[in-house]
């Protein structure tokens, strides 16, 4: 579906981390101000909130320019989306070099196929989906080529908070026990912050299919990481 117009991205910080909410006021028949007012009145704004206002028309112009070979416009897309892509690739590959290679390859694919992107508002989801796929394929190649030394990653994790580092190291082990496809889904949902409908739209599957698969993965990670829920009391 084409959605032109301004978009509001709310990055809300909660104890569990950043939870993103996106609102497309024009698609909902609202003005920007009305949309913001609705979100505020609905209690979606916690104490720490960073509001980024993205101009849909400017985004569309950037995408269109990039599609016609404008390197400066393409560089703006790199500046805006490279971090999301490499974070996704890293969660999938668990390796810095592999994620760099995968995202470089993803940008080359994006350059060639930018014209096939019909809905510029979907550019972020489209780019991280390509990065995820490249990372998954890189993991497959890497399995054939070499054994990965993860000691550096563990050491880096352990340089931070001891408890968090242990959890992240456990997560590293748990992720390596998953299929790359499942890591892709987790990365798109939790590292890139795509919701199930965005993932579904990119992948041509149903939102409920995405949700049921994520639910199974959460169950598995809960067991693998021996997570106990910290339920509000």
């Amino acid at each position: 579906m084409r959605r032109n117009g301004s978009a509001v991205l709310l990055l809300t910080v909660e104890p569990g981390g950043i939870v993103s909410e996106s609102v497309k006021p024009r698609a909902a028949g609202l003005s920007l101000e009305d949309a913001l007012g609705q979100v505020r009145s609905a209690g979606h704004l916690p104490s720490m909130t960073d509001i980024l206002l993205g101009d849909g028309a400017a985004l569309e112009a950037t995408v269109r320019s990039a599609a016609t070979g404008d390197e400066a416009a393409f560089a703006r897309l790199v500046a805006d989306h490279h971090a999301s892509m490499i974070r996704v690739a890293y969660v999938i590959s668990g390796d810095a070099d592999t994620s760099l290679d995968a995202v470089q390859s993803a940008w080359a694919i994006a350059w060639r196929r930018m014209r096939s992107l019909r809905d510029p508002s979907q550019v972020r989801a489209w780019l991280v989906a390509i990065a995820a796929n490249e990372a998954r394929q890189a993991v497959r190649r890497r399995r054939r080529e070499r054994v990965v030394d993860i000691s550096e990653d563990i050491a880096r994790a352990e340089s931070g908070h001891v408890e968090d580092a242990a959890d992240v190291a456990d997560l590293d082990r748990a992720l390596r026990g998953l299929k790359a496809e499942d890591r892709s889904l987790l990365a798109l949902r939790y590292a890139a912050g795509l919701d199930s409908s965005e993932i579904a739209r990119q992948m041509g599957m149903s939102p409920s299919g995405v949700r049921s698969r994520l639910a199974r993965l959460l169950e598995r990670l809960r067991d693998d990481l021996a997570l106990e829920p910290e339920i509000d009391r």
Binding site: V23, A42, E71, V91, W111, S116, E230
Partner: protein
């Protein structure tokens, strides 16, 4: 906060912490130049294969080669000719492809049910990553729907702001054609066959020839999802008219697939499954006769490739679907822009694009569902 939400927040935080270790520094301009690879983007990708300084000669040779291949293919009947699709077919009524409900009086596809032999869906690399779905039945029906730009020879439809789509198309294969398609899949190196359950989604990442896709096949008396090895398979399944011989076609001309039944589905676009309470609230907006009708048409999910299963809990006739659609149109529900048969409920505390919705989807001969939309 329930237990699952708490676990999900914890996992999300861990994954974000893990992702923070990624090396995110980049020089955007350098990366853009590297991606461009020093070649002009406005130059078509295939042009890059030309030797320097010999472009014209190379192009002429290429054109001559293409002409010879195409003319040979057309003579042998290997390529589709869609010159005159608007006509009455010999053995079935032609229906112009549509989005939404079929035109009044359109003859439904027969028979109402059919045994699924093969089904494929995916974003196909060789066709520009657009999404394609196809279902092949033992009785020869080939039903498909595509967003492929220009690859199918069928004009594209739009409903409001929807993505362009062919609509759901029906063609007919001979028994030989059914076997050729089935054999093509088997020859692509099928492996890791897994039984398909009622709520399984067979699509997955990066299988050969697709960004995202999957394949379901009848194996003995059951449906299985399978991996394949040949990256050419998705393209062959997406555009079989490009390689099947004339003898494979009982009727190659295209017509809309007209379903006999519609599934009534309730879902939402959030990460929380729709509750029975929400489902009941949506059904309560319908008139009493409609509520009773829908409730009497409950179905059991079964193996297949269903877009919204298990949330499509009921099936109704096309006539009843028309009445339900009219009732919904008159209700206080809002039809989602770009979708012909999806109506959003209004929950005050949720953003507009995350409201639960009720939707009518075409039922395929095997009981699966597909959206007659973009």
């Amino acid at each position: 906060m329930n237990e699952r939400t708490a676990i999900e927040l914890r996992v999300a935080a861990l994954i974000r912490a893990y992702a923070d270790r990624a090396p995110t520094d980049v020089d955007p301009m350098a990366m853009a130049r590297r991606a461009a690879g020093g070649s002009g983007h406005t130059t078509p990708a295939w042009f890059g294969v030309m030797p320097p300084g010999r472009g014209l000669v190379f192009a002429l040779v290429l054109i001559a080669l293409l002409v010879s291949i195409l003319s040979g293919a057309l003579i042998s009947g290997a390529l589709p000719l869609h010159r005159d699709p608007v006509q009455i077919l010999a053995d079935r009524a032609f229906v112009e492809p549509f989005v939404g409900l079929p035109p009044e009086g359109a003859t439904p596809s027969t028979p109402e049910t059919g045994e699924l032999v093969l089904s494929f869906g995916g974003r196909v690399h060789s066709l520009g990553l657009d999404f394609h779905r196809m279902w092949l039945y033992a009785d020869g029906r080939l039903i498909w729907k595509s967003n492929l730009e220009g690859a199918t020879g069928v004009r594209k439809l739009r409903f409001g702001e929807s993505e362009p789509t062919t609509g759901v198309i029906e063609q007919h294969l001979t028994p030989e054609g059914v076997e050729l398609l089935r054999s093509a899949a088997i020859a692509a190196g099928l492996h890791d066959r897994q039984p398909l359950g009622p709520a399984d989604d067979p699509t997955d990442w990066g299988r050969p020839g697709v960004l995202w896709g999957g394949l379901v096949m009848r194996d003995g008396g059951r449906l299985v999802q399978a991996e394949w090895s040949d990256p050419a398979l998705p393209g062959r399944l997406a555009v079989p008219a490009s390689w099947l011989p004339a003898s494979a076609w009982e009727d190659r001309r295209i017509s809309a697939y007209v379903p006999s039944r519609y599934a009534v589905c309730v879902d939402n676009a959030t990460d929380r499954p729709v509750s029975e309470r929400e489902r009941a609230r949506i059904f309560d907006l319908l008139t009493r006769p409609m509520k009773e009708l829908i409730r009497s048409r409950a179905i059991e999910p079964k193996p297949g490739w269903n877009d919204h299963d298990p949330r499509c809990t009921h099936q109704v006739s096309t006539d009843d679907a028309r009445v339900i659609a009219a009732t919904l149109e008159d209700s206080r529900l809002r039809r989602e822009p770009g979708t012909p048969l999806r109506y959003r409920f209004a929950v005050d505390e949720l953003p507009a694009d995350r409201q639960p919705f009720i939707e009518l989807l075409s039922v395929l001969p095997d009981g699966g569902v597909v959206c007659d939309c973009g």
